[in-house]
């Protein structure tokens, strides 16, 4: 936790300084208009009630909520917001996950993007750098939002000295174990350290089962393991990779992963094999994997399922290695597009969505609030699985929140895959990746 604070402390200081500077230079985006318009904070909801429905502003909102989440969105969030702001109507559009980025790109390029969108946290800096998103940190009420949310998720909205979104929900992955297989490995509770886990995996190896549930060769799948084993991708300011991604600790971490795979301890899913993570975990062929809260919210809502996730699995924090117990921050940010026709109203919704009540409503379906008060309240709610996730968030790290991340991740994935497949020595692979990433960071 200590080092995390430091990371974000640094980011915040830089952010503050930069956003102050940016205020003077007027960026010409939609954000400017919104800043000039009178306050539309959550406080003046009463006054807008008098307007006739004719003047209602339609806000187009794109999202990718799942079936259950969408239900709550349309049945609870929308009515609640429209009651508080009768002059605004939410037009909700659920987008297919497939080809989503292409649609956003075409929307932006053709000046047909929606007003708001709930987008994956790793996209925000990339779209911000294209000028597609409105700068929110200049707007009235931003500081209030900022004070109420966790630093980690908020940092994913940071680009070039300003914030271009607000974290609508956050999540992370924890270790999920199949109870029976855990007992087979001779354990009664989730392993606390990597060493314990590896020992369990070695025991299971002789029974033809897999113990280490690395879910894929990409940053989302690898990062919790790499970080927990002591690896680092860049320095704390995200400006340099050489000396970090290829530091002795990082090389050691990757070598450990490579040796685990060579010994056959890692689930075949990592390199695209079958059974899939969930299938293997359900059947007990896999001891564990790391996954998000949706593992429970989806499986518990499945009709006529034979598998009861609450009864048949055990949760634990990521087992600690040389780097501690690290997981990766996921989640979505709420962004306002630069070409929004109603930036003022869009920001009103974003602000409202970040307050405690709506955050608590979405928490009911297992989405972890980034609003501190709502997250605290969620612990008291009757959501059985959520405790470990909230606890893991305290030490979880974001994937490098910079516009170049999309390309960086390609390099990162490729170097790890090459090392794990034995095509390159871990040190060589990481040296090469660090060099390529530094070329991007320049």
């Amino acid at each position: 936790m200590g080092s995390m604070r430091k990371v974000f402390g640094g980011v915040m200081a830089a952010a503050l300084a930069a956003s102050l500077a940016a205020c003077g230079s007027g960026n010409g985006n939609g954000g400017g208009d919104a800043a000039a318009s009178p306050s539309a904070g959550a406080t003046d909801s009463g006054g807008s009630g008098a307007e006739t429905p004719k003047d209602r502003v339609k806000l187009e909102y794109w999202h990718t909520y799942s079936d259950q989440e969408e239900k709550v969105l349309t049945e609870k969030i929308k009515p609640a917001f429209e009651k508080a702001y009768p002059n605004i109507e939410l037009q909700l559009t659920r987008m297919p996950y497939e080809g989503l980025k292409q649609q956003v790109i075409a929307g932006v390029a053709g000046d047909a993007a929606p007003d708001l969108m709930r987008m994956d946290i790793v996209w925000v800096p990339e779209f911000a750098s294209q000028g597609a998103l409105a700068k929110l940190s200049d707007l009235e009420g931003f500081d209030e939002v900022k004070a109420n949310v966790f630093d980690g998720p908020l940092a994913t909205n940071f680009y070039d000295g300003a914030y271009y979104g607000v974290p609508v929900n956050t999540n992370t992955k924890v270790a999920i174990y199949n109870k029976k297989t855990l007992e087979e490995a001779g354990l009664t509770e989730a392993p606390k350290t990597m060493d314990e886990l590896v020992k369990a995996a070695e025991t299971l190896k002789s029974k033809g089962k897999f113990g280490l549930g690395v879910s894929g060769v990409n940053a989302w799948g690898l990062a919790p393991w790499f970080w927990s084993l002591g690896g680092k991708i860049t320095n704390d300011d995200y400006t340099k990779s050489d000396g970090f991604l290829n530091s002795p600790e990082s090389v050691k971490a990757l070598e450990t992963l490579v040796s685990w795979n060579a010994k056959g301890l890692i689930i075949p899913t990592m390199l695209g094999g079958e059974p899939g993570v969930w299938d293997g975990l359900k059947s007990g062929d896999y001891l564990m994997t790391d996954d998000g809260p949706w593992f429970y919210s989806i499986l518990m809502n499945e009709k006529d399922a034979k598998f009861d996730p609450m009864a048949e699995t055990v949760r634990g924090l990521m087992p600690a290695g040389a780097g501690g117990s690290r997981s990766v921050i996921g989640g979505e940010d709420l962004v306002v597009f630069a070409n929004s026709k109603h930036p003022k109203e869009a920001w009103t919704f974003a602000q409202w969505m970040m307050t405690e009540e709506p955050q608590k409503i979405m928490a009911e379906v297992g989405l972890i609030p980034s609003n501190k008060a709502a997250a605290e309240a969620m612990k008291q709610m009757d959501i059985p699985f959520v405790g470990e996730f909230v606890q893991q968030l305290e030490t979880a790290l974001p994937r490098t929140p910079i516009p170049q991340w999309g390309e960086m991740e390609g390099i990162f994935n490729l170097s790890f895959e090459k090392a794990i497949r034995g095509e390159k020595k871990p040190k060589e692979a990481l040296d090469e990746a660090a060099k390529q990433i530094d070329a991007l960071l320049k």
Partner: protein, 305 residues
């Protein structure tokens, strides 16, 4: 003929034909040609997706980026394009003519039914067939292909993770393509065989030629013109792989199975690198143009059926 009257004749000819082709010309110009020209321009720009961005001219920088990519993605995609041609065209061609000749054999009944079945994959959607193939080629013994080849027949020493290794992924892409498209060749050849004079075979019968000899010495040479047409189209199809790669592997593992169209798509719409993507598109256009220039008018004059 004086220049003026030649002009007048040309003008009159255009006036006569214009009612029929004007809409087609305008539509093609606006929705096909203009985007292409626009892309050529983009390939020399630092292109931003914002509608009013300045898009500075950068000369050949995007082309340099394509060639300087440390992982050589463009070269890999180019290599795969040629591999796809080499691997699929001969098989596709041979299966097409073979099945057509067999179905066309005099004693075979239900010819139309067979033709319908063989052609079925052609009329089904790429997306659905891709989903289906991914499902059939799923990893482990739960995938049907592994189940048959490994568990039932024992032809494979272990279940293959088809899409996660380069060669197995390529083989899967090829099988997908051949399965989906061989019916086209079968239908073309079946139609062509209607026009082959029967008496040639009768003469061969008298000479005591067997079925294989008849196939290689009579059928194949007779169908040569149609074969040229089929092969050109197959080569063209193999060059244009996109759904085959995009829906099956998305270019993975490690961008190893990319072809140029799928690489263009991912560079543009995943990584927002429109400049380099447009540069690759333009280069591919030139390449295809050079490769097919001599055949072009021939292709144009060909009948599709």
């Amino acid at each position: 003929m004086s220049p003026k009257s030649r002009f007048a004749i040309g003008f009159r000819q255009w006036m006569a034909v214009l009612p029929y082709i004007a809409l087609g010309l305008i539509g093609t110009a606006v929705f096909v040609l203009y985007p292409m020209i626009k892309n050529i321009l983009i390939s020399f720009q630092n292109f931003s997706i914002m509608p009013n961005a300045s898009n500075d001219w950068v000369g050949f920088a995007n082309y340099a980026k394509v060639f300087q990519d440390p992982n050589g993605k463009f070269w890999i995609a180019l290599r795969n394009t040629f591999l796809n041609v080499i691997a699929t065209v001969p098989v596709n061609w041979f299966l097409a003519i073979l099945f057509a000749v067999l179905i066309n054999a005099k004693f075979v009944k239900y010819k139309i039914a067979f033709r319908t079945i063989y052609y079925l994959p052609i009329v089904t959607s790429w997306i659905i067939i891709a989903l289906l193939f991914k499902y059939l080629f799923a990893d482990g013994d739960g995938g049907f292909v592994n189940y048959i080849l490994h568990k039932q027949l024992g032809l494979l020493p272990q279940a293959i993770s088809w899409r996660s290794n380069y060669w197995s992924a390529m083989i899967m892409i090829w099988l997908f393509h051949i399965w989906k498209t061989v019916g086209w060749g079968v239908v073309i050849y079946m139609a062509a065989l209607q026009g082959v004079p029967k008496d040639l075979y009768e003469a061969a019968d008298i000479d005591g030629a067997n079925a294989g000899q008849r196939f290689w010495h009579i059928t194949i040479p007779l169908l040569k013109p149609i074969s040229i047409f089929v092969v050109i189209n197959l080569v063209n199809g193999a060059f244009g792989f996109f759904p085959q790669v995009y829906f099956i592997t998305k270019g993975g593992p490690m961008d190893q199975t990319q072809v140029i169209p799928s690489l263009i798509y991912t560079q543009a719409f995943e990584h927002l690198k429109f400049g380099p993507a447009a540069a690759m598109g333009f280069m591919m256009g030139i390449m295809v143009f050079l490769l097919t220039y001599s055949q072009m008018t021939k292709i144009g004059k060909q009948r599709m059926f």
